[in-house]
Amino acid sequence: MKYISYLTIGIFFGIIMYKSEAASWFRIYEMFQFGSFHMYGIIGSALVIGVIGVQIIKKYKIKAIGGNEMNLHPKTKSVARYLIGGIIFGLGWALAGACPGPMYVLVGAGYYSILVVIGGALLGTFVYGLVKNKLPH
């Protein structure tokens, strides 16, 4: 039964990504060319609502279903891993024109070349696991 809700959330998310064109290579390229407010508006408006909502959750100590704490743990402090990792991610995001959510959406939309990108992403994740201990974190 729980899986039905995860599936529904995924379908909902997939439709949003596709319909907002956030899953389009062209929109990512246009964003980094500062050619349109569209992508900034999507991320920005999600963020404004997100910040307000999280503050409300914290202020009124709203619990998740079942009375559990919400999954809002602070992230471990570091600069190197977030900055270097972030830059590497950004290089790929702009080149492939897709981040890890939209990649799956595009499979469903029938752009099968994206499977090559997903294969590359799995390989990248695997290589990170191999060299993790040698990298500054």
Binding site: G10, W25, P100, A109
Partner: protein, 186 residues
Amino acid sequence: MNLLYDPWPWYVAGPLIALTMFVLLFIGKKFGMSSNLRTMCSIGGAGKYSDFFKFDWKSQRWNLVVVIGAIIGGFIASQFMSNNKVIINPDVAQQLTTDYGIESAGEAYLPTELFATENLSDPFVLAVLIIGGFLVGFGARYAGGCTSGHAISGLSNLQLPSLIAVIGFFIGGLVMIHLLFPLIFS
């Protein structure tokens, strides 16, 4: 406008993404798509090569179900809710054509020059797709998250690490488009 068929404007999509995050929080989970890549590596047996992949991946099955949903969502949206053509800023589209010979803006959802299945036999196209994916996968795990985990979830929770990561995303993206694209595509 036709809300079902036309592209959704940012002020519809952004709030709906925030809603996705809150629903996941409310059911005790969190919004983060790139961790699925690690889960898939673990399922594929990567734990034999690195302890990074030795974790209780079964606790992450819910997120794989979200992925399956996202695939179905992509199918529904592309089949029934879209003409699958993305119209961008005409100046940017013109620049793509003039500088890089990418002429499919306004005609397709993804540039056919890079994503048409028949172009997979072109080693250049194959390299772009694999390297792009590799950088996304490696970078997301190194940074501990991607657009959903850092730019939406982390920043919503006012996490400084997420701000650093998102600044990194944009440095990387700007370097790729403005410095490396001219070298790669012309």
